[in-house]
């Protein structure tokens, strides 16, 4: 079981220095994710969801314990090694989209591929595929400022997916979206999860997201309090 895990988290503790003392944001997390999961870390604000996601994404490191992602212990990686892991295997989706404002939709999606040194034709194909998945082929020349929130988040999904990463980490992806758009993008991600076997891990406290999850990991005060597999519900 553990050998086939794409992500393994063992006895993970994360403490932040606060004033003179320390604040324990994650307190002894043990988790394993398999390829193709559509899982969510669920919990109230401040429970440690983002912190956990950042450690999995090698943007931050654990204080104790370890997080092994794609066979690599993120705590042992150099900054270069961590960048390489993110570049090749991870995609990120944020609450605030974080598109680059001066670039077009097409260029925003292109950016991750430029770091991977692909041939021009391969790159063009990948970008067009990704924009097709999210239904934005008619907006490739638009700038983020000309798009709605839902469209922006779809560009962000295309950007995360364009290199077909093994893992996508999505931190509160629906927090700025209305119900219709939230459902829309979740369906989209679910479809990609099923077609490409991409592992999705969400951090969320949004019921609209939770509804779609196949696995729900409840976090409270930095501890996993519940970890349940959910039978398919749909809407």
């Amino acid at each position: 079981m553990e050998q086939s895990s794409i992500i393994t988290i063992k006895e993970l503790i994360k403490r932040f220095p606060v004033g003179k003392g320390e604040f324990t944001a994650l307190n002894g997390i043990n988790l394993a994710f398999n390829t193709g999961e559509f899982a969510g870390i669920v919990g109230p604000s401040g429970s440690g969801k983002t912190t956990l996601l950042n450690i999995i994404g090698s943007l931050d490191t654990a204080t104790e314990g370890k997080a092994v992602v794609m066979g690599q212990s993120t705590g042992d990686l150099t900054t270069k090694g961590a960048a390489k892991l993110r570049r090749k295997h991870l995609g990120f989706i944020f609450q605030t989209y974080n598109l680059l404002p001066v670039y077009t939709v097409y260029e925003n999606v292109e950016f991750p591929l430029l770091l991977l040194q692909m041939s021009d034709s391969e790159r063009r194909k990948a970008i067009n595929d990704a924009l097709e998945w999210v239904g934005l082929t008619d907006k490739i020349k638009s700038r983020p400022a000309q798009l709605s929130g839902g469209e922006c988040q779809r560009v962000a999904i295309a950007r995360a997916m364009v290199k077909k990463p093994e893992i996508v980490l999505a931190d509160e992806p629906t927090a700025n979206l209305d119900a219709a758009n939230s459902h829309n993008i979740l369906k989209m991600m679910l479809k990609l999860n099923e077609e490409l076997k991409t592992t999705f891990i969400f951090a969320t406290h949004d019921d609209k997201v939770i509804k779609y999850l196949k696995r729900k990991i409840s976090l409270e005060d930095g501890k996993v309090v519940k970890d349940e597999i959910i039978k398919i519900k749909g809407d």
């Binding site: 983002t50 950042n54 994404g57 943007l59 931050d60 490191t61 900054t79 270069k80 961590a82 960048a83 390489k84 892991l85 993110r86 570049r87 090749k88 991870l90 990120f92 944020f94 609450q95 605030t96 974080n98 598109l99 680059l100 001066v102 670039y103 260029e107 292109e110 950016f111 991750p112 430029l114 770091l115 950007r159 931190d171």
Partner: protein
């Protein structure tokens, strides 16, 4: 990748236009000031060369040692022979005779008694020979206030102010009382042909310009003169050429055992301007440094503001897997590009202004009371070779330094920290 980043740079005006404007402005000022200072100082050096020191100057060794006392008793003799030898040795240099003299100038009344009297400081130059360039060289025609240029050896020009003080008019006689080369008393009458304004206060108080042959006659200095000024055939004084002439001359003509043997000094050593030469260089250095610092601070701040604005971008780029060093380097490439563009623009604009000032000049004569004077009254810029590249130094340095300073914050911060800032 680089193209991708430059595309973004071009589209983001606050990231490109503002810094380019700052760099352009700074480089323009640097280039312009460089040309202006070179021009003004060059003009002053040239003025000094024409008036007192030549590009090179020959005196006797004894005269050179006491030259502040106008020691005409130690003058060069057999000057015509010396000049013809020099013309063989240095065919491109023009040598002219000069005598600086002092004495009393006496303005008599109709009975020949002293009406007014004053101390005079004069300079004797060749005003009369047909091919003499001295009149043009000293800008005499334009300095005339009244009258005309002397046509006979016994005619002189005196400063307009001095003429008023002595109450002499054009065509009237003045008597110069001085000493001969051999220490005897010399009393000689001259006719005032015209009055001039020098534009230099001491000279305007008591200055006089006489023909060299008239003074040689008055001071018993036949075939003798205090100084031989040499003018090299060059637009701007070039110290290396002058030094070379000085060395070869002294090698050949100076006899260390004979204090009356001729010795040559070049402008840089002789002139009151000598200090200015080093001054020009350090001045340019100081200007460039000031601009680098000032522009760096401005660009550092724009960089910081830009950097703050770009936290989102940087966070995303990190998340997507770009290395921090790569991001930092790409920011420096952007800075270099901006620096190059700004430097080129600034150099062009600066050279444009300088060219205008070089060709047209600022006429300080209009600003000052009169334009009729010998001092250069049009300040000009002078575009020299360094003007073409000097702007690159502050241009490239400042933006790169500014970006490095503002980028260090990004580079030093932990990825996680940068990322947190992105989230808020």
């Amino acid at each position: 990748m680089i193209r991708f980043l430059f595309k973004g740079l071009l589209r983001d005006r606050s990231r490109s236009l503002l810094p380019i404007l700052v760099v352009t402005a700074g480089v323009t000022l640097t280039v312009f000031l460089h040309c202006y200072i070179t021009g003004v100082l060059g003009e002053m050096i040239e003025f000094s060369a024409k008036y007192t020191s030549g590009h090179v100057k020959v005196m006797t060794r004894a005269y050179a040692e006491n030259k502040n006392q106008l020691p005409n008793d130690l003058a060069l003799i057999e000057v015509n022979d010396l000049i013809s030898n020099l013309q063989k040795d240095y065919p491109t240099i023009e040598f002219v005779q000069r005598i600086n003299f002092g004495g009393l100038l006496d303005a008599p009344d109709e009975y020949g008694e002293t009406k007014k009297q004053g101390i005079v400081g004069g300079i004797a130059v060749d005003l009369i020979s047909e091919n003499s360039k001295e009149i043009d060289r000293l800008n005499i025609r334009n300095s005339l206030v009244k009258g005309r240029i002397p046509e006979k050896p016994n005619e002189v020009l005196i400063s307009d102010e001095f003429a008023n003080k002595l109450e002499v008019d054009l065509g009237e006689t003045v008597t110069l009382i001085t000493s001969t080369m051999y220490g005897g008393m010399s009393i000689q009458n001259f006719v005032v042909a015209g009055t001039i304004e020098f534009g230099v206060q001491i000279m305007d108080r008591s200055g006089m310009i006489a023909d060299i042959s008239g003074i040689q006659n008055a001071m018993d200095m036949h075939d003798a003169c205090g100084e031989l000024l040499g003018f090299l055939d060059m637009a701007n004084y070039d110290d290396i050429t002058a030094l070379n002439v000085e060395n070869t001359f002294n090698e050949k003509y100076t006899d260390l055992n004979d204090e009356f043997s001729p010795v040559m000094t070049r402008l840089k050593n002789d002139s009151i301007m000598s200090g200015y030469f080093d001054y020009v260089d350090s001045f340019v250095g100081i200007i460039v440094t000031i601009f680098i610092l000032a522009m760096s601070i401005v660009l550092w701040n724009t960089g910081l503001i830009g950097g703050l604005r770009r936290y989102g971008e940087i966070g995303v780029r990190l998340a997507i897997g770009e290395e921090k060093g790569h991001i930092y380097r790409s920011m420096i490439y952007e800075a270099l590009l901006i620096g190059i563009v700004g430097s080129i623009l600034g150099t062009l604009v600066g050279l444009g202004f300088s060219y205008w000032l070089q060709e047209v000049g600022i006429n300080v004569g209009d600003i000052m009371k009169s334009s009729k004077m010998m001092m250069p009254n049009v300040f000009r810029a002078n575009i020299t070779t360094p003007a073409y590249y000097i702007g690159l130094i502050p241009g490239l340095f400042s933006i790169t330094l500014g970006t490095m300073l503002s980028g260090i914050g990004i580079y030093k911060r932990k990825t996680a920290q940068l990322f947190k800032e992105l989230e808020t």
